[in-house]
Symmetry: C2
Subunit: 281 residues, 2 copies
């Protein structure tokens, strides 16, 4: 596996690999890799001829009071894991290279970026959209894979690809979970054993919502109420939002007809965890 | 010359033309072509192997009260002119194709986009940056050429290319002028003979500034004052701004040391005209 740290070197590689019939796959990550990432990487291996994984803890998607500095990092371990997966290139740029002096160009996905997490994490999706556009221009992938745990992020990336005509196929990959259902996340490393146990209430609450819909419940507020009750039962949890929304526009819906996304963000002590489920009436 | 109206068709062409050592040149325009455009096109012909000219009157770079509907158009004549210049592809998309339903992704070059014209044309450079990013992704040029009359636009495009890592070389092309010095612009067609005469005051004022600097004048406010006096002498002119600024950051400067950009926007009746000159102390 080749490790590339500089944008220009990555671009030279990508330019040389632009050949008819050959597909470059990109799996963008912030590192501290877990089985969720590796599952994307394995999927990526099958989707094309060259596989690039990026590791970059992107400062512009963290608000000033957020956990940029504390975000877990372990490049040595990440390297070993990716080596085993047959990755061709690990792209691992520095923040100074990605955001040189005078940097001032940002992408904004205006409606989708303000809903759900966007209402609480000011500037977050602006940072995500901007870094993803940069990675697309640097790596020039034909396919890019993102996890469905970050459902809103996935929808925003799909939208910006369509709106700005990036020639990239965006694929979502199902959330990978622990045995008790907790969605894998690098931020789970913030949890102590008691918090870890409390965190399992997120998945339990989503399953409960699924059960209610299966039993015929269509009233969004009753579903959200049941989800909140389940999470509130756990200690050290604080709900940031629980929303039932349209899976494409992410706008709130009152009653389920067809498909609906149930998305939530919950603080478990200092860890902000997100999860979601698609509900079908 | 092939005329392509659909984004997808253009992307298929571009994808097929991505070959080692082969360079695609793009000259983006809003049509109603004049010698200024044609001079860019002729330069473009020499800069690569394939030459694409785009004609698209971009609605997102016009504010609601501006002249989008009135902007002059003459596709038949443009086609004839480009045919003669040996252009390979004219890309002429529709607004519906460029801005499909639900479109919501915009680029913002934050500092540069708020100065000079950005202070008067709200959202203008957001629209410019967004459409240029789209054109880059659709045409995938190796080189793109822009006129220096729109000096701020050129700087903004250089900045967004650097910031978002577009693999595009951006070239500026010197302003082409009428005999009396008026910078060629499609908007000159708005002028009646009297206004046309008044419009020549813009260039005269810039030459006067050059003369003052040559004589040793370094005081920005005195230079700006002289420029304003020259323009005010003409009938039907209304100065929007006259600024002496740093050629890179576009921020105001008080005194000329080294290079300075003198940029102005002046209304001549209903025509908003811009021009600029680089002054060297």
């Amino acid at each position: 596996m080749r490790v590339i740290e500089h944008i220009q070197e990555m671009q030279i590689w990508s330019e040389a690999e632009q050949q008819p019939g050959k597909r470059i796959v990109l799996v963008p990550t912030m590192g501290f890799l877990h089985e969720g990432h590796l599952s994307l990487v394995r999927d990526g291996r099958k989707r094309g001829d060259r596989l690039v994984v990026s590791i970059f803890v992107n400062p512009t998607q963290f608000a000033p009071q957020e956990d940029f500095a504390a975000y877990p990092r372990d490049l040595k371990r990440d390297l070993e894991l990716l080596e085993r997966e047959g990755v061709d290139v690990l792209f691992h740029p520095s923040a100074d290279d990605m955001y040189p002096q005078g940097f001032q160009t940002y992408l904004e996905v205006e409606k989708l970026g303000l809903l759900l997490c966007g209402g609480f994490r000011s500037g977050h999706f602006r940072g995500v959209a901007t870094v993803v556009a940069k990675l697309f221009n640097i790596v020039r992938p034909h396919v890019a894979i993102f996890g469905e745990k970050d459902y809103q992020q996935l929808q925003i990336i799909r939208r910006l690809v369509r709106d700005l005509d990036f020639a990239v196929e965006v694929l979502g990959h199902p959330t990978v979970r622990e045995k008790d259902g907790l969605a894998l996340s690098s931020r789970n490393s913030y949890l102590d054993p008691g918090e870890r146990k409390a965190a399992s209430s997120l998945y339990r609450s989503l399953k409960q919502a699924e059960g209610l819909v299966r039993q015929g419940e269509r009233d969004g507020s009753r579903i959200v109420q049941a989800v909140r009750a389940e999470i509130d039962k756990a200690t050290a949890t604080r709900v940031e939002y629980i929303r039932l929304c349209d899976p494409s526009s992410l706008e709130d819906i009152g009653n389920i007809e067809g498909e609906a996304l149930l998305a939530l963000a919950v603080w478990v002590d200092k860890a902000r965890l997100i999860d979601n489920v698609l509900l079908r009436a």
